[in-house]
């Protein structure tokens, strides 16, 4: 839990940094971020996960009159094959196809997810690497770490029909053509645990990036809502 607060405070510092830099040049967008996920077992050890997530821009601070206008930002189609190493450790290999204006991209993904149980909450650690391939530009390499806390709101464990809160922060280091950068993602979601096979979440996802690029600092605030099925 202590680690979470360190990451949470890091996120807040990023937010404060953003605010101070925003005075110079405000690059802020906001919109809707729906996602859906399906997981099913192949065997006791192996499972498949499919995910679709999509960002729809509604607001861009750089528009002349700051009016609301819809634009499709991107849609990601992801599939993973995972293996349960222990009840607390999983390894996944995945592939993402991104649809966006300009150029669609391919991205292999590798991740290790570790579950830690507390008395009143669960913590999920996720270490992920990915490589994004473009037709003309050099490959983009990223190293990511996410720390997520899932807190049942009506007891110490989640029972069907109950709600939960998920708070997470992810730090992403990326490098492309010898230029590097950092992105941060702070997410707070309210979850509805219908049963172990069906969950709904609604929350906010605050992303900041271009920390290491002068005068390019950017932030994005997404209203996120998702459905998660496991068979």
């Amino acid at each position: 839990m202590k680690k979470f607060w360190i990451l949470f405070v890091t996120g807040l510092i990023c937010l404060a940094l953003h605010e101070s830099q925003a005075q110079q040049r405000h690059r802020f967008t906001s919109g809707l971020f729906p996602e859906a996920q399906l997981t099913y077992d192949l065997s006791d050890a192996y499972y498949i996960t499919h995910k679709i997530e999509s960002q729809h821009g509604m607001f861009d601070a750089q528009r002349l009159n700051r009016e609301l206008a819809y634009s499709h930002t991107l849609t990601d189609l992801q599939s993973f094959v995972g293996r349960r190493i222990t009840p607390f450790v999983k390894v996944d290999l995945g592939y993402q196809y991104r649809i966006e204006d300009g150029e669609n991209t391919h991205r292999p993904i590798q991740q290790v997810a570790i579950l830690q149980r507390g008395n009143f909450f669960r913590i999920g650690h996720r270490i992920r690497t990915d490589q994004t391939f473009f037709s003309e530009e050099a490959v983009l390499l990223r190293l990511r770490y996410r720390y997520a806390v899932q807190l049942p709101l009506q007891g110490t464990q989640l029972d069907p029909g109950e709600k939960y809160l998920t708070l997470s922060n992810e730090v992403i280091y990326m490098t492309q053509s010898a230029e590097d950068d950092i992105e941060n993602r702070l997410v707070a979601s309210l979850g509805f645990y219908v049963d172990d096979n069906t969950k709904y979440e609604v929350g906010v996802d605050y992303r900041t990036d271009d920390y290491l690029v002068p005068d390019r600092f950017r932030s994005r605030l997404w209203l996120k809502f998702g459905v998660y099925w496991s068979l």
Binding site: T49, P87, R117, N119, R126, D159, T166, G191
Partner: protein, 197 residues
Amino acid sequence: MEGNMGKKWHTLSVFLLMVLTSVSYGQKREIERAVASSEVPESARNWLETAYQGHGKTKWYFQTDGEKEVYEAKLKWKRNWHSVEFAPEGDIRNVEILIRTRDLDQEVRENMFRYLSGEYSSFKIDRLQIHYTGSSSALRDLIAGDNTGPELVREYEVEFVGRKNGVSTLWEGQFDKCGNFMEKRKIELSSTDVLDF
């Protein structure tokens, strides 16, 4: 015409009611929820106040598996988490104390580890609790002075990952006061898909 429609709606309502009723009867639901201390029987609250004098913040929970009902208090006492279980009428049932593996007595540890290393190619203890049952006064004495008199029944509840034939499984094992194996059951963790992706 109207009469026919009304009859159809009536039939449909009865059908839906029957489906819902049969579904809710068919499920044996385990429920655990936080409750305000004012909802807890007074005798349970009094027992806790007397036994844990000067205790810190306490969280109360109500649990049922459809048949058995209990109230449970969780609090930190002398640097360990205690779970104190009461009957619906407020009578004390048991006390569980969360400890670390290194806190185990040597004999208990040796017996427990002998079983685990004999049964599994590798194992890792994730959660370890001492489970005390006994009379109200014996449990009160235990909390007051860590006095484990002969009238108390002491058992260990151990959640561990055991690896056998290349497969790791999470178990809850029960061990007696000397660390001898009694029984175990498999623990199914609720899904972690929202934490993984």
